[in-house]
C-alpha cells in the first residue's frame, strides 16, 4: 500500500558528477512489493508537483531505502542541498516493478543507461538472492558520470560504456549486446526512451522487461498525465506509467 510520511535522511553523498545517493528511514520500505517501484517526493512544500525517483535499494527490516538521483532541474538541485537529519515528504512506494516472482529466468541481463541505472541495482540484488546469474551493461555519458560499477560487480560480470570512450568501451550499451548473445535468457532495462527502444530492437526475441520514465502528475494513477500507448488491438489502448508501470513487458506498450 502507498503511504505518505516524513522520512528522515540518514545519509546523503555525492557519488558521481551531479549524482547523489540518499538513504531514507521510515515505515515506507516495509510496503515495497518489488524492485522497480518508485517514491514520489515533495522536495519543497511550495512546489506544485512531486518528483518521482526510483528505489535503488531497500532494507525493509531496517526501514531504509536508497535513492540515487541526478541534478536535472530546480527540484533535484534543491534536493541536493538537504542534509542528514532533515526530513522529506515521501509518498510511495508507487507503481508495479519487476515481477521477479513470476519470472522463470536463469540468466539475467541488466541494461542501464545513466540515471536509469539505479532501480536495476535493487533488482540485481534480488535476482542474485534467487540464484539467478546476473550480467550487467551500464552506459554513461563520460568517465565522471560513472557510478555503481563496483556495486554491480559484486553481483556478477559488468560492462561499462561511455559515449565519448573516456571510460570502458566507447559507444552505447547497444554496441555491447551482440557479444552477449547466448549468455542470458531474460533481460531487464531502464534508461532514456531512445535507449529502451534501441535495446528492445536489438534483443528482439528475448523475454524482456523495460522501466519507462516520464513526467508524472499525481503519481497514483488518477490524472492521466503519464500515459503511454498500447499496441493496436489492446482493449484499453493505453497504460498509466505511474500505476500500471513503470515496468512493462516488451511489446506491452509502444516506445
Amino acid at each position: 500500500m502507498m503511504i505518505r510520511e516524513e522520512m528522515e535522511i540518514i545519509s546523503h553523498e555525492r557519488i558521481a558528477e551531479d549524482t547523489y545517493r540518499m538513504v531514507l528511514l521510515g515505515d515506507l520500505p516495509a510496503e515495497i512489493k518489488q524492485p522497480g517501484q518508485f517514491v514520489h517526493i515533495l522536495i519543497d512544500q511550495s512546489d506544485s508537483l512531486r518528483r518521482p525517483i526510483s528505489i535503488a535499494d531497500a532494507d525493509p527490516a531496517k526501514g531504509t531505502l536508497t535513492i540515487l538521483y541526478k541534478i536535472l532541474g530546480k527540484g533535484t538541485a534543491a534536493l541536493s542541498k538537504m542534509q542528514s537529519g532533515d526530513h522529506l515528504d515521501v509518498l510511495g512506494p508507487g507503481g508495479n516493478g519487476f515481477l521477479i516472482d513470476s519470472i522463470s529466468a536463469e540468466r539475467a541481463l541488466l541494461v542501464g543507461g545513466g540515471i536509469g541505472v539505479p532501480p536495476l541495482y535493487y533488482l540485481a540484488r534480488q535476482l542474485k538472492e534467487k540464484g539467478i546469474e546476473v550480467t550487467t551493461v551500464l552506459g554513461f555519458q563520460h568517465e565522471a558520470s560513472v557510478f555503481f560499477e563496483e556495486e554491480f560487480r559484486e553481483l556478477g560480470e559488468v560492462f561499462v560504456t561511455t559515449n565519448d570512450g573516456s571510460y570502458g568501451n566507447k559507444g552505447f550499451v547497444t554496441d555491447i549486446l551482440p557479444d552477449l548473445d547466448g549468455r542470458f535468457d531474460t533481460y531487464f532495462s531502464c534508461g532514456p526512451a531512445v535507449m529502451l527502444k534501441a535495446v528492445s530492437e536489438k534483443l528482439d526475441g528475448y523475454e524482456g522487461y523495460l522501466s519507462i520514465e516520464e513526467r508524472l502528475g499525481c503519481g497514483v494513477g488518477a490524472c492521466f498525465a503519464c500515459v503511454v500507448q498500447a499496441p493496436e488491438g489492446d482493449a484499453k489502448g493505453y497504460r498509466k506509467i505511474c500505476h500500471d508501470g513503470p515496468v512493462f513487458r516488451t511489446g506491452e506498450v509502444i516506445l
Partner: protein, 303 residues
C-alpha cells in the same frame, strides 16, 4: 455545534469540500487513502461520447506556484464510464457530479442524456472550458451565444441539475455567467484553468507536447476569487468555486467571495490526503472566523 452541510440543486452536501474534475480520476485510486464517503461530493473526470486517448506526452509541467496540464480529455467514453466506473462510486455515501464534454452540441447532449440517467449521478458539470482540445471545449466557453445554446440543449436532455463550468479565458466573465443563467443553468462552477505555456530553454520549444496547457494551482487563485466576487454580485446562481485551493483559509476566501461550495484540484497531486485533511480542519477554521454554519459564510464579503 458547527453545521457543515448544505443543499444545492441536486446535491445534499455533508460539507462544502469536493475534489475537482480531472484531478481525482473516478475516485478509485484515492479510496486507498481515505473513505470517499467523507467528501462533500466527487466531480469525476470528463466524459465524452467516444473513447479519447488525449494528447501526446509530456502533458504536465510545474510553474511558479502552479502547474500546466494538457491531458486532452482522455477518458474511456460515456458508455464505459457508466458500466465500469460508476458502480464502484455508488458504494459511497457521496453525491457524484459528472463532468460532461464534447466537440459538438450533439455530443454534449448525448453524453448528458446518457450519464444523467444513472442513479449515481446527482448533477452535471458542463465542461465548456477545457483549453486543451482542438474542437469544442473552450470555444463554447468563450462565446456567450454558443455557451447559452449548449446549456439550453443539455438542460433539456439532462435528468439532473446542470452546473456550467466557466472559462476564465474571457474578458467579460459576468456576461458569460448571465448568458448561461438565462439559458437555464442551475449553477456555476468556476474557474477552469487559464491557457499558459512554458519553454524548455535547452530545446527552445514548449515543454508540453500540446504546446499550451491549462494553468492551475495557487497562481490562479486571485483570478478565481475576483471572478466569483464579480459574478456573485450579478447572477443569482449557486457557485462551486475552484482555483488553487490548498488551505482552509483559501476555502473561506472562496465562500466569502460568493462560492457555496468548493473544489480542490491540483493540490490532490501534491498531497493525496488534502481533501480529507481540509474537511477535518474546516470546523475549527469556521469558528476562528466566528461562524457555525457554512450557509452564513457564502458571499460574506458582500455584506
Amino acid at each position: 455545534m458547527t453545521k457543515l452541510n448544505l443543499s444545492l440543486p441536486g446535491l445534499d452536501l455533508k460539507n462544502p469540500i469536493m475534489p475537482a474534475s480531472g484531478c481525482f480520476g473516478f475516485g478509485k485510486e484515492f479510496s486507498e487513502f481515505y473513505d470517499l464517503s467523507e467528501l462533500g461530493a466527487i466531480i469525476i473526470k470528463a466524459a465524452t461520447g467516444e473513447t479519447r486517448y488525449g494528447n501526446p506526452t509530456p502533458r504536465v509541467a510545474e510553474t511558479s506556484a502552479g502547474m500546466l496540464n494538457a491531458i486532452g480529455l482522455q477518458n474511456p467514453g460515456v458508455d464505459r464510464i457508466i458500466s465500469d466506473e460508476l458502480p464502484y462510486l455508488s458504494n459511497y455515501d457521496t453525491p457524484v457530479i459528472a463532468n460532461v464534454a464534447g466537440s459538438t452540441v450533439e455530443e454534449y447532449v448525448e453524453v448528458a442524456e446518457k450519464i444523467s440517467q444513472s442513479s449515481t449521478i446527482k448533477a452535471l458539470e458542463l465542461n465548456i472550458s477545457c483549453p486543451n482540445v482542438k474542437e469544442g471545449g473552450v470555444q463554447f466557453g468563450t462565446d456567450a451565444a454558443l455557451a447559452a445554446e449548449v446549456t439550453r440543449q443539455v438542460k433539456q436532455a439532462s435528468e439532473v441539475p446542470v452546473y456550467v463550468k466557466l472559462s476564465p479565458n474571457v474578458t467579460d466573465i459576468v456576461g458569460m455567467a448571465k448568458a448561461v443563467e438565462k439559458a437555464g443553468a442551475d449553477g456555476l462552477s468556476m474557474i477552469n484553468t487559464l491557457t499558459g505555456m512554458r519553454l524548455d530553454l535547452q530545446r527552445r520549444k514548449p515543454i508540453i507536447a500540446n504546446q499550451t496547457g491549462g494553468l492551475s494551482g495557487p497562481a490562479i487563485k486571485p483570478i478565481a476569487i475576483r471572478m466569483i466576487y464579480q459574478v456573485y454580485q450579478e447572477v443569482d446562481l449557486p457557485i462551486i468555486g475552484m482555483g488553487g485551493i490548498e488551505t482552509v483559509d483559501d476555502i473561506i476566501e472562496f465562500l466569502f467571495a460568493g462560492a457555496s461550495a468548493v473544489a480542490v484540484g491540483s493540490a490532490n497531486f501534491k498531497n493525496p490526503f488534502i481533501c480529507k485533511e481540509l474537511i477535518d480542519q474546516f470546523p475549527e477554521a469556521m469558528e476562528r472566523y466566528g461562524f457555525d454554519q457554512v450557509e452564513e459564510m457564502i458571499g460574506g464579503a458582500h455584506r
